[in-house]
Amino acid sequence: MNRSILIVDDEMPIRRLLRVALERAGYAAVEADCARAALGVLKSEVPQLVLLDLGLPDRDGLELIGAFREKDVPIIVLTAREASSEKVAALDLGADDYVTKPFDSEELLARIRSCLRRADQSHGRQRRLKVGPVQVDLDAHTVHRRDSEVKLTPKEFMLLAVLASHPGKVLTHTHLLREVWGPAHIDQVEYLRVGVRSLRKKIEDDPSAPKLIQNEPGIGYRLIEPVDDAQAQ
């Protein structure tokens, strides 16, 4: 039952460290040191999650994302800090999250938990979502904040709905713009900025110190996870 987590990294010390950390947290781990080995593992068993380093010796890690995506394996990308365009590319190809090297093992485990939780929920999509003090009803198209209804414009609602459908996940600028404004406007980052700002004014306690809609500089936005679940530090 306890499916394994696949570690794809060409550096042996990293693999060893990740294996120790994962096993300590109660997960089983499988290792692959190159793209070919990773695809080999995927043929024999479907892991419950993959930790994917993008700098592989034989192929670009980005090319593997599609293969894991097909089997519905959640992907967390391991990447260097400078590579914001690489992160965006990975996310746009379907990666679920990224962790910047050097990372803390605690932080990584928290990301893994959150990722697995989302994967579970996505099987039975929730139509009523609760994020902090905010409740979103996707069917009734209503938003409540601390029991009083908040009036949103159609675009604000769509933006919130898209974010709330993937709680805790970073959604890239392109993704949000495509979902809310349509594919013709994926370069109009200013639409998104203005939209987020007006949405924050309606749902955040302090719009100048936002807690719910968080920015990932150069990448996108994420809605924080529902409060009652987010215990992991």
Partner: protein, 884 residues
């Protein structure tokens, strides 16, 4: 048609050149006393009132109290005294105005001539320099000082104005016409309200007649209207609404060495203004040019430089026939209008110019021909001027060869008889004419006639001729000798001209080939010097920029010593890209003439020429050749510079790729072990006996990681490898995520942020800005006590959005506000905090890469304030209403 809608490149270029340049406003009047200075002062005072920085460069009040009252509120730049022959004259202190650099400067009397020893001979040149420096100038001028109207005004007022202003000065200026009806002006004059110098009063009484004033007023009105019209046209063609010059008109004006040439050139300019057409001024260098008197040469140079100052393109063509050359050039430049001068003199039968005009009239179609009659002053010509030129040697050879033939024929006459001797005499005549020119041939012909008569025509040994047939023989001999002599002489000068042309062309071609072959700057400069020296036959040097001056890098036998004036002229030419020194408009006191080598990359070098004993080193007939040579030299410099730059770029490119590879491996190879250490330390328990040690490993690993990132960032900055991805960004996002990131590493520190929610979006690279803020916050945390809150404020400043990071620490040391952003600069307490000393340098590097600025200041009451200023140009104007 899309073709026509496209803006003309010339018009765009003029627009671009105007950018960054001050604007010129000219208060134009029909006559003295209409109140130009008064209006100018009034406007200056208004601007001052409105908050502009207005100063007076020079304004004459002539003791009038109403003018003085207007001057008094305006700051005046003190004049500069100039000592001239024991007399102290005062002029505008150009350097002081440039130094003071006001927004607007008032400079009275545009047409004024500066005292000798000033930088420029004319005040309009001072004004030009002010405009180039970006200072707006207001000035005044009367219509009779406009160069191209000079003749027209002179023709009805009979007062010749010497101080003229080139028309090009008016071209980009805003012109305000100060109009006063003649009756009122005469009244003002009678009431003594118009300043007139005493010595000029008599002349001006005539000048101020009502008829004159009416005519001047009409001229001024028309002129002002014409400029307005021209500016509208130019604006339209710059914005693509109209197609450039009016109807494709092109004007060709033939310039001669006569005094009337100036009138012809001015007439052509008026025509060009009316038609908005470009002018080409043509000088045909015929063989007769060799016989020009010094005064004619001077007049020619004057005419050509007038044409050039009126905006004409100069062309100098060597040819044997003026009419042929003019007709050929007409075709060449596709002229639609041809302007010729014709002397109005008593129609001297030998004047070939009349024939030129008639010839051209007969032989052209489709070209409008304007003939400008002028009075030619031929006074001062002595009889000797009418003698054909030649050399005494030629005369002697002529006489000698005739004498030799006479002797030979005399000895041989018993054998050959007298019959063919007359024919034999043609031999020395033709030979002398072809080798020594017309005069020697004439001398030989006369000598031959005399000798034949004396020795061979009966009665021999007398000059008496009996037989009428023999008279005819003698006369025929002289006529034949004259005609053949002239033909031979003309052929000779045509050949000489062709040879010079060919030599010059060959010289140019050789110069170009040689220039193409050399590879170093020094060789190029030396080659340019040598070739120009031999082709132009004047002393030549090449100067390159060095430090903040110039340096002679190629010269002849000995390096010439430059006087301070020479040096100033050379530097001027280098800096402004204009001719300077002897025979130009600037620093004429220099012994040298300096010509800049202008290229698309700026002025790369300056050529210096020195002629014999202070004369213009490049006479008019050589100007075209000199121009071509200078162009070639400039091209060579440009090519060399581009090559050098390309080589340097190649080196940089290789070094860059090497460094990029190094950086990539450094970031990967160092990061991997560091990642392992960090993650492993996090996994260890801190609760056991070794808890403290584990904590140390964790925090030191984190520090090491910081340091590594800082190093990599700084290397990227110094390599210029930071290429910001500027996208519309909400400062709230960036600040919130920076504060969020820091919460992990600086747990327990209180960070207060206050962000103006009405701040506009700005173009920024969120990653770089986030990183810069992180470093600032980190710095603030390091240099202040843990219980002091750190404040971060985003607000709208006067020139754009501003982000402040404030701490309550000891503050940065006084005087180190700028130094603090240097690498490895640390505050006084740095030993304790152990930062890398790179953080602030990275902040500055990232901010500047995005076009932002950062500054540091001490806070009043302790602590530091670091400020990132975002220019208003980075603001993205978008509001909720704009969003679909």
């Amino acid at each position: 048609m899309t073709e026509d809608a496209r803006p003309s490149p010339d018009a765009l270029l003029r627009e671009a050149q105007r950018e960054g340049r001050g604007t010129l406003k000219i208060f134009l009047g029909a006559a003295p006393g209409v109140g130009k200075t008064y209006e100018m002062l009034l406007e200056g005072a208004e601007k001052l009132e409105a908050g502009a920085d207005v100063v007076i460069g020079i304004v004459e009040s002539h003791g009038r109290s109403d003018t003085e009252a207007l001057i008094s509120p305006l700051p005046v730049i003190p004049r500069k005294p100039i000592d001239y022959k024991g007399q102290v004259l005062t002029e505008m202190d150009l350097d002081a105005v440039l130094e003071r650099h006001p927004e607007i400067v008032l400079v009275d009397e545009l047409a004024h001539t500066n005292a000798p020893g000033s930088r420029h001979p004319k005040r309009w040149q001072d004004i030009e320099e002010l405009l180039v420096a970006g200072i707006d100038v207001m000035t005044t001028v009367n219509i009779q000082h406009v160069e191209s109207l000079n003749d027209v005004v002179g023709s009805f007022t009979h007062v010749r104005v010497r101080e003229t202003v080139p028309d090009k000065v008016f071209e980009n200026a805003e012109i305000e016409l100060i109009d006063l009806p003649p009756e009122d002006l005469i009244e003002r004059l009678a009431a003594g309200k118009v300043y007139v110098p005493d010595q000029a009063r008599h002349a001006l009484d005539h000048f101020f007649s009502k008829g004159n004033l009416l005519a001047l007023r009409e001229l001024a009105l028309r002129h002002a209207a014409q400029y307005v019209d021209a500016r509208i046209q130019e604006h339209q063609s710059a914005s693509g609404k109209d197609g450039g010059f009016g109807g494709g008109q092109r004007i060709l004006v033939a310039v001669s060495e006569t005094a009337g040439g100036e009138q012809v050139v001015r007439a052509a300019k008026r025509l060009a203004d009316a038609l908005k057409a470009p002018i080409t001024a043509l000088y045909v260098e015929t063989p007769a040019a060799g016989r020009m008197s010094p005064s004619e040469k001077k007049q020619l140079a004057q005419n050509l430089s007038l044409a050039s100052s009126l905006g004409a393109t100069l062309q100098s063509v060597p040819a044997t026939s003026a009419q042929e050359a003019i007709l050929a050039q007409c075709k060449e430049v596709r002229a639609t209008q041809l302007v010729l001068g014709k002397s109005r003199g008593r129609g001297r039968w030998f004047d070939r110019r009349d024939r030129i005009v008639r010839d051209i009239l007969d032989r052209t179609t489709g070209v409008v021909i304007h003939v400008i009659p002028f009075a030619d002053h031929v006074s001062g010509r002595r009889w000797r001027d009418f003698l054909p030129r030649g050399s005494w040697t030629g005369d002697a050879v002529g006489i000698g060869s005739v004498a030799a033939l006479t002797l030979a024929a005399y000895l041989a006459q018993s054998w050959i008889g007298r019959g063919p001797i007359d024919m034999l005499y043609l031999v020395p005549v033709i030979a002398t004419a072809s080798f020594y020119g017309f005069r020697a041939g004439l001398v030989a012909a006369v000598a031959a006639g005399v000798a034949y008569n004396f020795f061979f025509l009966p009665p021999v040994y007398t000059f008496i001729i009996y037989s009428p047939a023999n008279v005819i023989t003698a006369i025929l001999l002289v006529i034949v000798a004259i005609i053949t002599g002239q033909l031979a002489a003309r052929a000779r000068s045509a050949a000489a001209l062709a040879m010079r042309s060919a030599r010059e062309n060959a010289g140019l071609a050789r110069f170009a080939t040689r220039l193409g072959a050399v590879g170093s700057t020094e060789e190029t400069a030396q080659l340019i010097r040598d070739e120009l020296r031999s082709l132009l036959a004047v002393q030549t040097i090449v100067l390159h920029p060095s430090g903040d001056g110039v340096e002679i890098i190629a010269f002849g036998q000995t390096k010439p010593k430059l006087s301070p004036v020479d040096r100033a002229a050379a530097e001027w030419a280098m800096e402004h890209g204009e001719d300077a020194g002897l025979g130009t408009d600037t620093l004429t006191a220099s012994d040298w003439q300096f010509r800049p080598l202008k290229t698309s990359l700026g002025t790369l070098a300056v050529l210096g020429f020195r002629g014999p004993s202070g004369r213009d080193p490049i006479p008019a007939e050589r100007a075209a050749l000199a121009e071509s040579l200078i162009d070639q030299a400039a091209l060579a410099h440009e090519r060399l510079k581009l090559e050098t730059e390309m080589r340097a770029m190649e080196v940089v490119r290789q070094r860059d790729s090497l460094r990029a590879a190094l950086l990539a491996s450094l970031s990967h190879d160092l990061r991997t072990p560091l990642t392992a250490v960090t993650a492993a330390a996090a996994a260890l328990s801190t609760t056991g006996d070794d808890g403290e040690l584990v904590e140390t490993v964790r925090s030191e690993a984190r520090k090491l990681n910081r340091f590594l990132s800082d190093l990599l960032d700084l290397t990227r900055i110094e390599e210029g490898a930071v290429t910001p991805d500027l996208v519309p960004t909400d400062l709230t996002d960036v600040i919130a995520s920076a504060v969020g990131d820091l919460a992990k590493t600086l747990a327990g520190r209180k960070v207060q942020s206050s962000i103006d929610q009405n701040l506009p979006l700005v173009r920024a690279d969120a990653v770089l800005l986030n990183h810069a803020l992180l470093n600032l916050l980190d710095n603030a945390a390091k240099y202040s006590s843990p219980d002091e809150p750190i404040e971060i404020i985003a607000r709208m400043g006067r020139r754009g959005p501003v982000i402040d990071v404030l701490d309550g620490g000891p503050g940065i040391p006084q005087g180190s506000e700028l130094r603090i952003f240097d690498r490895f600069a640390r505050g006084e307490t740095s030993d304790r905090t152990g930062g890398s000393g790179l953080g602030l340098a990275i902040v500055k590097g990232f901010a500047e890469a995005m076009g932002f600025t950062v500054e540091a200041a001490r806070r009043q009451g302790g602590g530091s304030r670091f400020t990132i200023r975002i220019p208003s140009a980075a603001i993205v104007p978008v509001s909720l209403e704009d969003i679909p």
